[in-house]
Amino acid sequence: MVENNNTKISAKDVDVFYSEKQALNKISMDIKEKEVTALIGPSGCGKSTFLRCINRMNDLIEICKVTGSIKVDNEEIISSSTDVVSLRSKIGMVFQKPNPFPKSIFDNVAYGPSIHGLADTKSDLENIVITSLKKAGLYNEVKDRLNEPGTSLSGGQQQRLCIARAIAVNPEIILMDEPCSALDPIATAIIEELIDELRLNYTIIIVTHSMQQAARVSQKTCFFHLGELIESGETNKIFTNPDNTKTQDYITGRFG
C-alpha cells in the first residue's frame, strides 16, 4: 500500500467542557487522508466527544463548550463563523444505533442529495441512490424493495443503509461512532469489510469498544483515557509494542 502523508484533519489543544466538567483535555492529533483511524479507550474517556467535535454535532448539546482548534483541509471549524451545514455535508456520520428515517429505503438515501440539490433530474437522483447503495454493499439485497420502509431491514442492513445515506452526499470524511455495537458478529464482519473498501475513497474515523475491531480495520489507533489522548500511532505498533504502560494495560485487558 502506498503511504500518503496528506493530513486531512488536524486538531490542536482541543478542550471540551460539559458545564463545569472537563471531558477532553488538550487533545492534539493529525488524521491522514484515506486511512482508517480508530479511537479506543474505556467508557467515558471522551472518544465519542472528540468524534462529535469534528462535525460539530456537539452543538446540539447546549451545555457543551469546545475550545481549541480543529482544521479540516486547513480550514478552521471550531469557530462561530463556520458553516456547519456545509461542514456536515463534507463529513458524514454513522451512529451507534442504526437510525434510518421511518421512510422508504430510496427516500432514506435520497434525502441528503435532494436537500443539497445534488441531483437535477429524477434519474440523476436514482443514479446517486443506486451508486450509494452499491458502495455500501446493500444494493443487491434491497434492489427489489426500494420502496419498503428502511426500518423493515435487519439491524446490519439498517446500519449499511445509514452508511449509504452518509455517502450519498459525497463526503470526504466518514465518522463512525461504534457502528457495530448493536450488531451481531456476522453483520459486524460485513460492516468491517465495507469499511476496508470505503477506505480507498474516504477518510474514516471510527470509535470502537472492541480492540479486535480496531486492530482489524484501522491503520492508525488513538488511545484515550480520562479525557486525555494517551498514545497514538500506527495500529500495528499500538497493539504490539505500545510506548505507554496504560495503553499496554488496556489492550491486554487489565482495565477498561
Binding site: 462535525n55 446540539l60 451545514v85 434510518p100 428515517f101 421511518p102 434525502y111 436537500i115
Partner: protein, 426 residues
Amino acid sequence: MNSIVAQERIIALRKKRSAQDLRFKYYGFIAMCLALAVLVFLLYSIFSRGFSAFQKTTILLEINYDQEVLKLTPDSTDQEIEKGKFFKVKKNALNNVFENLSKSDAKLIKKLFSTNIDKEIKNYYIDNPSVLNTTQKLWVTAHSNVDQMLKGNSRRDVPEDRRKLNDIQLSFIDQLVEEDRIQKEFNNFFFTRADSRHPEIAGIAGSFMGSLLTLFVVFILSFPIAIGASVYLEEFAPKNKLTELIEVNISNLAAVPSIVFGLLGLGVLLNVFGFPRSTPLVGGTVLALMTLPTIIIACRASLKAVPPSIKEGALAIGATKSQAVFHHVVPLALPGTLTGTIIGLAQALGETAPLIMIGMVAFIPNIPTGITEPSASLPVQIFLWVESAERGFQEKSAAAIMIILLFLFMMNALAVYLRNRFEKKW
C-alpha cells in the same frame, strides 16, 4: 444469620406478602366495578329517558282543501299560496275530528294539536298542489302534552287540576286511540329543526350545526397556533428563564377555569373588538383560547416522543435545523398532535360556561349557516332544555345528551384511528 434461619423468615413473611398482593388486586377490582356501575347507571338513566324523544305522536286529520275556503285557484302563484287561508281549513278539520262537537269541546280538541299544524297543512299543499278541492287524510303533529301522556311520561292518575290535560281531553285521546287515529312515528323534527318554545317541534339541528361551526373555528385557530408554538418551544427556543416562565404558564393556563375565558371573551372580544354576539365566531375564538394550552402540551409531548436519533441523523447529513424539524420530527409527531387536538376539540365541544358568558345561551330558533350568525351549541341547548318547565323538554335534553355523547365518542374513535393509522414505528 445462617441460610436456614433466613429461609424460615422469608417463608414466614411470604404469606403476608402474598396476601398483600391479593388484597391490592381485589381493591383494584372493586374500584373498577364501582366506576363501571356508576357509568352503567348514568348511561341507563340517560338512554331510558331519552329514547322516547326519537318518536313523536301524530294524529290523523281529515282536511278538505276547499278552493273557496282557501281562496286559491290551481293557477295561484307561490305568493298567493303563502297567503292562502289554511287556518280556516284547519279550523274546519278540527271541528270535524268528532261528530257534533260543541264549541267548548272544539276548543279542547284544538289543544291536542301542535301549533305547527298550520304549516304542516300548508306544506302538504305546496308539495302536492293537485289536492285542491279534495279531502286528504293527514298525520299531523300532536301537542307535547298528548305526546307525553301517551309515552307515559305524564301520569293520568293525578287530580285533574294538576294535569295539563283535563278529563274530557283524556277521553278524546282514548277515543282516538281506539279508532287508530293516533300513532307514534319517527321524530324527524328532532334532527331537522332548531330550538322552539314548543317541545313537540323543537330539534337539535340548530345547536348541532352551531357546535360544528364552533369546532371548525376552534380547529382553524388552535391547530396552526399550537403546532407553531410547540415546535418553537420544543425545537428552536433558547433554554432560558423567559422560555421556562412561558412553559410553566402554559401549564397554568390549562388549569384556568373555563368561565374565566368566557369573561375574557365578553370583556375583550365582544366589548373591545366588537365581535358579533352569540356567534360561533366568538364562541370558537374563546374555546380556542381555552383549549390552546391543552393542545400545546399534547403537541410538545408528541414532539418530545420522536427519538432524537432521527433528528441527529438528518442534521449529520447536513440538513438545516428547520429541515430536520419539518421533514422529520413534525411528520412523525403529527399523529400524536392530531390526537391531542381532537381531545382538545372534544373538551371544547362539551364546554358550556364560557359560551354562557358570550351570549350563546340565547334562544335561537334558526339553524345557523355561517360563523357570524347567532347560534346555540349542543351543551348550551341541553342546559336550556333542562331548565325548561315543560315536561316535553326533559326527554329532549336526555336525547341531546345521547347525541353529544355519540359525537364525543366518534371524535375519540377518530383520534384513536388516526393514531393507529399514521403512527410509525422505528
